[in-house]
Symmetry: C2
């Protein structure tokens, strides 16, 4: 059902709702870009496991209303796959968020590392990253929206790392062996200039294993998707 061609994000959708009201950007996209007509079938999700199929009843100036025809509730992902990604150029950070939602990341932590050129995490940056995550969630037919946490320092990240069975630091100088999947995992990817030796030592002391995810150096966003895909699908 949720592999539907037209999918919309409706955060306040509830399992007992007989109809869906689509407003704001999602309404404008439906009406002006996709030019969907009454009678057409859509999919909507609240990003918390609920997905519904619905038939468009009316498209107004500010709101689309659709009648729910089927409801599906999904359990949250059984295992956590958290990506802690250093703040990098905005467009690259957003590429990583988009691709990593597709391959199954369940949560994002922006990381402020010593060599980060980008050091600010504004409300606007967070809003854009969230919109990218929503778009990727809809695109790949998922119904759980991965939250984007507040930024963490490397010291704070090292503290959080102790909760995970597997902590993998993508690192061209690391072990070439592919990480194995299974338990909750924390994937860590540094800024373009890499983590400092002290940062790597702090993460290693917290249990992080250094893994090279390719034979050559990768850009941060490429390392993120390749590492998370490997951690997510058990290869």
């Amino acid at each position: 059902m949720n592999a539907h061609r037209f999918s919309f994000y409706v955060p306040d959708l509830a399992p007992t709702d007989a109809s869906v009201a689509i407003t704001g950007d999602e309404h404008r996209h439906l009406a002006k870009v996709l030019r969907i007509s009454p009678g057409e079938s859509i999919h909507a999700t609240n990003g918390r496991g609920l997905g519904v199929a619905a038939t468009i009843e009316s498209i107004g100036g500010a709101k689309t209303v659709a009648r729910v025809t089927a409801v599906e509730e999904r359990d949250p992902p059984r295992t956590r796959l958290v990506l802690a990604l250093a703040l990098i150029q905005r467009a690259h950070f957003e590429t990583a968020v988009s691709q990593c939602v597709e391959v199954g990341v369940t949560e994002f932590i922006p990381v402020i590392a010593e060599k980060c050129h980008v050091r600010e995490w504004t409300a606007a940056a967070r809003g854009r990253a969230e919109r990218v995550a929503v778009s990727a969630m809809k695109q790949c037919g998922r119904t759980w929206l991965p939250p984007i946490r507040e930024p963490a320092t490397v010291a704070k990240l090292a503290g959080a790392a102790r909760d995970f069975a597997r902590v993998v630091l993508g690192d061209a100088a690391g072990n070439a062996q592919a990480p194995r999947s299974g338990d909750d995992a924390l994937a860590i990817v540094g800024p373009e200039g890499g983590f400092t030796e002290a940062e790597i030592a702090a993460l290693a002391a917290a249990g992080a294993v250094r893994a090279a995810v390719a034979t050559h150096r990768l850009r941060a966003e490429t390392a993120a998707v390749v590492l998370c895909a490997a951690l997510g699908r058990g290869i």
Copy 2:
């Protein structure tokens, strides 16, 4: 040597050259963007296995000259890893080229499939894709530039597939098992709307195995990098 911070593409560089002349865009980037000074050390490659370290001697209006201090010649990649990617939106195609150069693709074939919305492959499109490939090659310290071939129809691609030990079609409906690496491989990724049943049948008849590279549907450019990373590093 070729993990140098400043790397330049000089297609006519020869192993016996005592100096490197950097012209055109590469010269402008060096002089105006990176603001490199005489005396600084750079890396240059001809994209055909030759990498040199060099020290900047002079930076003129149209040309930078650097004295070669070390030469390294690398054999071509031992195995071919070819990505046949359907024509998709330009920015997405270029993201795929960039990321797939990083993970080790040795050759690209744009594919014109029935459901491609983009059907034109202009000289400008080719030029942009080549610049993206050059940039990624330099970024990840490779010295062999993957060529971007002329576009192929699915029928032509099926003919070419017979030369490969492994032909893998990224397909959400495919076998979930990860493809194994080793021999020459051809990775095939379709347009956003997928290949038609007839196209899939033609590729399967030519030996293509359908493999799901993630648990959910992926965008074409994400499928490309995840599939090629898996094929490239033996996991």
